[in-house]
Amino acid sequence: MKVPPLHSLSLRGVDFWFVAYVLILLAQVGRLPLWLSGFAAVLGVLGWIIRRQDRRGIRGRWLAVLALGAAALFWVFYRGQFTVDTAASFLVLTVALKWLELRRRRDLFILFFILCYLTVVTLLFHQSILWAVVLLASLFLLFTGLQVALGARVSGLSGQALRRSGWLFLKMLPVVAVLFLLFPRVGPLWSVPLVSDQATTGLSDEMTPGGITSLVQNDERAFRVTFGGEPPARPQRYWRALILDRFDGRTWRRHDFGNREGLTRVSESAPSDSLEPGEYEVLLEPHGRRWGFGLKGSVPASSNVGLDSRGLLRFERSVDTQTRYRMKRDSETEPEQLSRSGRRFYTQLPEEGNERTREWVARERRQAQNQEVLVRRFMNHFRQEPFYYSLQPPGLGDNPVDELLFETRSGFCEHYASALAFMLRSAGIPARIMTGYLGGESGLNNDYLIVRQYDAHAWVEGWFPDRGWVRLDPTAMIAPERIESGLEAAMADEGTFLQDNLFSPQRYGDIRWVNWVSLRLDAVNYYWQRWVVGYEGQTQLSLFEKIPGRVGFRELGLITAGAVAFIIGVAVLLSVVQQHRRRFRNPWYRLYDRWCRWLEKRGIPGARHTPVSAQVEAAVAAFPEQAERIQAFGRVMNRVFYQPDTDPGLELKQARQLLARIRRQTIHGRSRTAATPGG
């Protein structure tokens, strides 16, 4: 069968889609490789130009060449990686090419469906309110565009289409809300590939001088914490993430315990009932790594997070979307024992380098009676000597510890932590670097803490036989205000707090209204993440726990099915009632209905489905004595229904009277004829 080509006006609807495409592309551009974004943009614009010229696409041959070229590039770039990331990129590519081929109706639908799915997939990468709204808008544009494309021949359709899809979305909103609330959020069905190894900012698993400093210019959120009960004091808020235990003279690295990540299911998030005292809940921003953040001595209270052998938080899979987990502070932890090989491991140092420090440590060691005194002497050294806490320390050479301690005396937490760990190890005390975050500012109404990238911190843990691992933070000796009140206070003199980040609201935290607005925005975002984005299986179940009776996914499924059936029923009912009312607003239709009912009552079945002329004929046959009136009535009705241009306004009353008389007369007639045989 020959399929007619698209109407030229259909292409106007496609322009709506183009806007939606631009929105989606904006959301994806940060993660797409540059060539792909460029390719998608160029093809999109090319498609636009082609449509402006009222053409339906380019030649099939050219399209094939383009498609093959794009596929080849894609293959070279991604090398058969299979993640959602690459799948989404591939969808972008497909849509980009599809702009150049819009010949038939079928092409429209293919494009529509791909765009819909692309919109949905984009939600894997963005979950903030802003992007959710933007993507919803693009969905809206897709539906509007489809209308315009399909109903192309009607003039002024764009406005109507906008109105119609607007109403559609509005009317559906309560239904969507109910479904969202009730639809059972079962756990993941099978393992799915990662979203991607996104290059997000955050802690890295090695520490070179300058590493954390660059992070500190960043005001992005790392995570947010809600405490059940009172949050611990600021100096206690050391959020541990990583242990760096191998030192090569310059860089601290993490020992890899061979815990490779395989293809795993996405874990379910934590329940959302209220927190017990001592519990806390972390809402972690995606950082593409597998570690989490927790206070010392706390254990997981939700199933989506675990502890590794050294007591650090680990996720099953990389944190590629926002993740909520719960921890419980457990104060009664036994001091951790360290084996002989463990002690050797934690005191390893390079054979050479930083000789001055080694000599200095040896001197100090001779003067101290025991390890504790020695450590105290180290810390006092940091406190008493003129060390400076600076974001812009001078560069360090081949013996960084020597240079820091005896020459520059200026550095950031990572420099001092590195130096202290070196000192401890060369004194034979097992030591390791801890990285993570320190502190966190209060969110709106002190409901939660916001920990940002600039709260990143590095400190040292030393091991003592009777006390286990003990936190030692040289920064606390040099710049106690960093611990007590945060980085901004610590950098007040130097003025380097967020100096590269001119537009950060955190930089203007002292301006009242900026602070007010930014706190509120963050709170809205937090509750959005917590209750909408984070509305998953456990959250749902804990919400429905309040209802008496056990509500599991099974029950929820039944409830959902019931609700859907109910909604469908109500919608049908409403529609029928509305139609009935609309029809009966027309007085002529009411009259016609009365006439039909009369016919049916008088034994002319199926009258409603025959034309007026046939009805009249049948009625005349049944009541010949009324022939004249019936015919007159029929004439009026016929004129009203078949010549709507003539104005029958005046005749309405007349027609009503006619019908009334016919009805009255036939009742009399009936009774007379019925009476005759008896009388």
Partner: protein, 283 residues
């Protein structure tokens, strides 16, 4: 296909435990449900009036003239009309306007044609759902015989006369007769007594072999030919005369259409041919 999309979205949402994907999937799903109503509404309250059923040649299509108007003044885009075995017609009714549609209806044979149910469907606004209804007009159309060119013999004779259309007109009203001298045995009532009175010659109007006359299309012209074929010949002649602007009359057993050259005459003649011998069917 849309259901496939929904399932795909839902699976993505489940496996990535992504609440927003659930949300959007529900949006898509309910929009789909809403589409059912939207599509229904595109046909609802659409007034369709049958204006007339036209004529057409048997075996070909007969036009069914309809007028569409939206009672509520809302545009009705993308309505598709289709009669059985016919190509579809796409119509849109503009906001507050009305539209004239001619739907083709297939006629199988000559005679009264009962219009088969015509399907109106629409998949507007989203093309995901199709709503349809049938209209069953009570009117009948007429299929006229398929015109067939008469065999060349009759044709030649025809053309001869067409070339010399000026048959001598003698006495008014008798122009169509061929006159010849009286032969013994000719019936007396055929003698043109007027002529005899004027000229003194016995002249006879010859009726035995009347020539095919250009302005009369006559059933008797093709004696012995099958009825349907004869009707087809006549239909051809009617078409021929009408398209060449020649006034014509038509004689059928029981019907005589005096010569005329108007469209209604042309139509009446064709209708008579179409319904010849077919009195059934009309209600």
């Amino acid at each position: 296909m849309f259901a496939g999309l929904l399932i795909l979205c839902l699976l993505t949402g489940i496996n990535y435990q992504n609440s927003l994907i659930y949300l959007f999937t529900f949006f898509l799903g309910t929009a789909f449900y809403g589409t059912i109503f939207q599509t229904y509404r595109n046909l609802d309250d659409l007034h369709i009036a049958v204006i007339s059923v036209g004529q057409g040649v048997a075996g070909e299509v007969i036009p069914l003239h309809l007028r569409l108007s939206a009672a509520d003044g809302v545009a009705r885009p993308s309505l598709v009309f289709s009669a059985p075995d016919q190509s579809e017609i796409r119509v849109s009714v503009d906001e507050g306007g009305s539209e004239h549609v001619t739907a083709p209806v297939l006629s199988m044979r000559r005679g009264y044609v009962t219009v088969p149910p015509v399907r109106i469907e629409t998949d507007f606004p989203f093309g995901l759902i199709r709503a349809w209804t049938w209209i069953r007009p009570e009117r009948q159309g007429v299929a006229t015989p398929r015109p067939i060119m008469p065999p060349s013999g009759a044709q030649a004779e025809d053309e001869n006369i067409t070339e010399s259309p000026n048959v001598p007109v003698h006495d008014g009203g008798q122009a169509d007769l061929r006159l010849r001298p009286y032969r013994v045995g000719d019936p007396l009532r055929r003698v043109s007594w007027k002529r005899y009175a004027r000229t003194g010659h016995m002249t006879v109007a010859d009726w035995d072999s009347p020539p095919a006359d250009p302005s009369w299309i006559d059933w008797e012209q093709y004696p012995g030919v099958d009825r349907e074929l004869r009707l087809s010949y006549l239909a051809w002649q009617v078409e021929d005369a009408y398209s060449n602007d020649r006034p014509f009359g038509m004689k059928l057993p029981g019907h005589v259409f005096p010569p005329e050259l108007t469209e209604s005459h042309y139509r009446n003649c064709l209708e008579a041919l179409g319904t010849f011998g077919d009195d059934g069917g009309r209600l």
